[in-house]
């Protein structure tokens, strides 16, 4: 074998391996949607179980073509802010790279991974609004969140040329801000306009617990979410295969999948244990705490010491419970799965932890090092980017009667009224 042949062989194998890696990350991320579906169906009363599942399927199905139409382009074109940069057509559906192309093994698998990130972001919002949002309204809002809003945040803070990165050294490798914070606060904005389910609050302002119909389904769903997030977090690293450079994070700095493995598992464990202790054994909070433990570590998954990630996880698992109670008591929202707290609050902490405990870490090229100010600017941007469109668009939809299921349909159950189906033959 000549040196040239060897070079061709190694480069080809590196590209094929890179393709295969992101292919399987994408497949694992589909499991996130199995998890969200099972979790939300279980948290729903029996009369709305089918429509709750249909809602999850719709988010998934609509996200893929809309992300192909404009989501991927938004990510590539808007790192400078609201004015697109000239990409000479790259990222548009009619570009040669947006289809079968023998010399481009990267675009399709990266697009697929980002599409599943988008599906995940939309599904985070999904659980908060079960049992009283119109399916069509949810689908529209999911497209806005998944194929426009979060990907704009990703372009600003999860892209090596994003203005938050080049200007402030924003560091968020596992998407604590660009996915979880944005999705959580988008959901909060919608919840303010959507209102609670009938029977959630009494006239004196006290709340009632509306129990779901299958704790087992919710349990399995939450565990499936954790399985799926390994695909999600694996997809957050860049395989610089053809450059023979190994792993880099999304900002071009050296990283390892091992660091992600250490800190994801330790954060998960800490979150479960913290929530177990604070909630006095509530299994719902224990599993949600595990997720919050991952999210509070997500901004710095590439840099934490695993023991510290565990401590952060414990904090995340504890904090989300009083945060959820405060949000409900103060704003009288009905966040059926605690999404604002688990994603929105833990996401904020995930970004800020990097600024508090990991300032001064370099990225690559001219990107400034991490700093508390950079992380603070980033997290404020992510909160605003999630909340403002969520609130304003849902307010407009509410004003034209296109947001909430009428009370009569809610009382009858969406499954039988709208879909002509029941989840179980024997009620």
């Amino acid at each position: 074998m000549t040196l040239e042949e060897l070079n061709t062989f190694v480069t080809t194998q590196a590209n094929v391996s890179m393709e295969a890696y992101y292919w399987w990350c994408t497949a694992f991320m589909v499991i996130i949607h199995v998890g969200f579906l099972m979790y939300e169906v279980g948290a729903t009363r029996m009369k709305n179980a089918v429509s709750s599942g249909v809602k999850n399927l719709l988010a998934f199905a609509f996200m893929i073509p809309t992300f192909w139409l404009f989501g991927w382009y938004i990510y590539l074109a808007f790192p400078a802010g609201f004015v697109p940069i000239d990409l000479e057509g790259y990222g548009t559906p009619w570009n040669v790279s947006m289809g079968p192309m023998l010399s481009d093994q990267a675009t399709g698998v990266f697009w697929a991974a980002f599409t599943l990130f988008a599906c995940t972001t939309a599904s985070i919002f999904s659980g908060a609004v079960i049992e009283r949002i119109r399916l069509s309204a949810f689908t529209f809002l999911a497209v806005i969140l998944g194929s426009v809003v979060w990907i704009t945040g990703a372009s600003w803070g999860w892209h090596p040329d994003g203005w938050l990165v080049t200007g402030f050294g924003y560091h968020d490798v596992g998407a604590a801000g660009v996915v979880h914070t944005i999705a959580g606060w988008f959901a909060f904005g919608v919840l303010l306009n959507l209102g609670p389910r009938i029977g959630k609050y009494n006239e004196d302002g006290t709340a009632n617990e509306i129990e779901g119909h299958s704790l087992i389904s919710s349990f399995i769903g939450l565990l499936m979410l954790i399985v799926g997030f390994f695909g999600f977090l694996g997809g957050c690293l860049i395989w610089a295969g053809s450059d023979l450079g190994g792993w880099i994070n999304i900002y071009g700095a050296p990283a390892t999948l091992s660091s992600f493995a250490f800190n994801t598992l330790m954060g998960l464990s800490g979150g479960m244990i913290g929530a177990f202790w604070y909630s006095k054994g509530n299994p719902f909070w224990m599993m949600s705490g595990g997720l919050a433990g991952i999210f509070i570590c997500a901004g710095g998954l590439d840099i934490w010491y695993p023991g510290f990630a565990f401590v952060l996880g414990v904090v995340g698992g504890i904090v989300i419970i009083p945060a959820n109670n405060w949000l409900h008591n103060t704003f009288k929202i009905d966040d059926c799965v605690g999404a604002v707290s688990v994603h929105g609050v833990a996401g904020i902490l995930g970004v800020l932890m990097v600024g508090i405990f990991a300032s001064g870490y370099p990225a690559s090229g001219d990107i400034p090092p991490t700093s508390f100010v950079g992380q603070l600017v980033g997290v404020i941007t992510m909160i605003a980017l999630g909340f403002i469109p969520g609130y304003v668009i849902s307010l407009l939809m509410k004003s034209i009667g296109w947001l909430r299921v009428p009370d009569s349909v809610q009382l009858a159950g969406i499954d039988s009224a709208e879909l002509g189906l029941n989840a179980y033959a024997d009620k």
Partner: protein, 57 residues
Amino acid sequence: MNSWPGPENSWEGVDAYFTWANSPGMLVFISLLVAVILAGIIWSAARHESEVADKNK
């Protein structure tokens, strides 16, 4: 109607290939068609929901 970009029965020189959409007009048409299908189905679902709501009053 075949849009094969290479020589007959050969992959010689072929790189990108958009089956059935190898002209700017078809690319734009198919992209618009996808958008119209998506928007139309959301609109159709909303109409169904409104009809159901009227029946359940």
